[in-house]
């Protein structure tokens, strides 16, 4: 197989995933403008942060005039799962050039990680082949994400009033949440995270969100520890955005 063939195989694998990325990107663009961000800020968010769920959370918080610490803290907690992906990919790329690794890190997504690790497990020997397959899965997602957020930001400004577009943001999170609940531990994490965050809506600086998320993770981890042995935990491919 040539580099080109491996790259194309990655692109092919990622194509069905686009179906979920396109509306998500449109919502992210439209929500940014809706929350009062400029087009340039909306684009910068997509290019610099490039992580959908955290972008939407940041946009919601910007719209509520949250403080810097809360916005950044929330984004980093949401994105902490990327450490898990980085660790799963790392053993395949210990021989890889650092510049390639730097690029791979920038375009890392849930989808590219899941598709690549699954493909490597089916057998793919050389680092070069693995690199091009990964780039094939990751690069199109980056391009589509940027186009969709710009389109969403432009179109979002002229959405008719009867369309409750602001509600599309929690709906997107909901669409990611449902498949992320794989085990009782996940259900516990969701239950605790959701209720604590709701009970804490009155807490200043939107800290209820952060406290809820952290307690949810703690509760889920506790339950996962108790059920360990009887179940092997979650398949990382199926963890949501």
């Amino acid at each position: 197989m040539s580099r080109r063939e491996d790259f194309i195989a990655g692109v092919t694998a990622t194509t069905p995933v686009m179906l979920g990325v396109v509306p998500f990107g449109l919502v992210a663009g439209a929500a940014a403008v809706g929350a009062g961000l400029s087009l340039l800020q909306a684009v910068a968010l997509s290019v610099v942060v490039f992580a959908g769920a955290s972008q939407l959370a940041m946009i919601e918080l910007f719209g509520q005039d949250a403080t810097l610490l809360v916005v950044v803290g929330t984004a980093l907690i949401i994105n902490s799962r990327l450490v898990m992906y980085s660790a799963s990919l790392a053993p395949h790329f210990t021989q890889e050039d650092r510049r390639w690794r730097g690029l791979m890190a920038y375009i890392m997504t849930d989808q590219a990680f899941a598709l690549s690790v699954t493909r490597y497990a089916e057998g793919m020997e050389s680092v070069t082949r693995k690199r091009w397959y990964y780039l094939g899965t990751a690069a199109p997602l980056w391009v589509v994400w940027q186009i969709c957020t710009v389109a969403g930001a432009v179109v979002g400004a002229s959405v008719p009033g009867w369309l409750p577009l602001r509600f599309a943001v929690p709906l997107t999170f909901l669409a990611l949440l449902v498949p992320a609940i794989q085990t009782r531990a996940h259900a516990t994490a969701a239950l605790v995270g959701g209720s604590v965050a709701t009970a804490g809506v009155g807490i200043p600086y939107n800290l209820g969100l952060l406290v809820g998320a952290l307690l949810g993770v703690a509760a889920g981890t506790l339950v996962a520890g108790q059920t360990e042995g009887s179940s092997s935990g979650v398949n990382p491919e199926e963890v949501g955005e």
């Binding site: 005039d65 950044v72 907690i77 509600f167 909901l174 669409a175 990611l176 995270g193 709701t198 996962a224």
Partner: protein
């Protein structure tokens, strides 16, 4: 009500750098540290469920900043959307179902 421009720009830059560091972490440090400790891995696996729920539930149950059940159309709309998410696992179908439900409830 929107955050000042300076806060937005600073947040974009700091969250961007931090997110890059999270992505790069093990790709660069694996040789030195090896695998993620098991306990940490379990914790990370819980992050999506906990965080997404902490984002969704208050946005549905307390959209104006206080818990509201009566007359809150977001609750039935979100339940309908959750059912669609469960059966289709499609982001597009979930958004469309939730928005449609919201429009219908608003019209009733």
């Amino acid at each position: 009500m929107t955050s000042p421009d300076a806060v937005v720009w600073l947040a974009v830059i700091v969250a961007g750098l931090g997110t890059y560091a999270l992505r790069a972490s093990f790709l660069f440090l694996f040789e030195r540290f090896g695998d993620v400790p098991h306990g940490v891995e379990t914790g990370l696996e819980m992050v999506p469920a906990a965080v997404l729920s902490a984002l969704v539930v208050p946005a549905v149950v307390a959209p104006e900043g206080a818990i509201a059940v009566i007359g809150n159309g977001r609750i039935p709309a979100a339940l309908a959307a959750a059912a669609v998410a469960w059966f289709t696992e499609s982001i597009l179908a979930t958004i469309v179902a939730g928005l449609l439900a919201m429009i219908v409830i608003g019209a009733v």
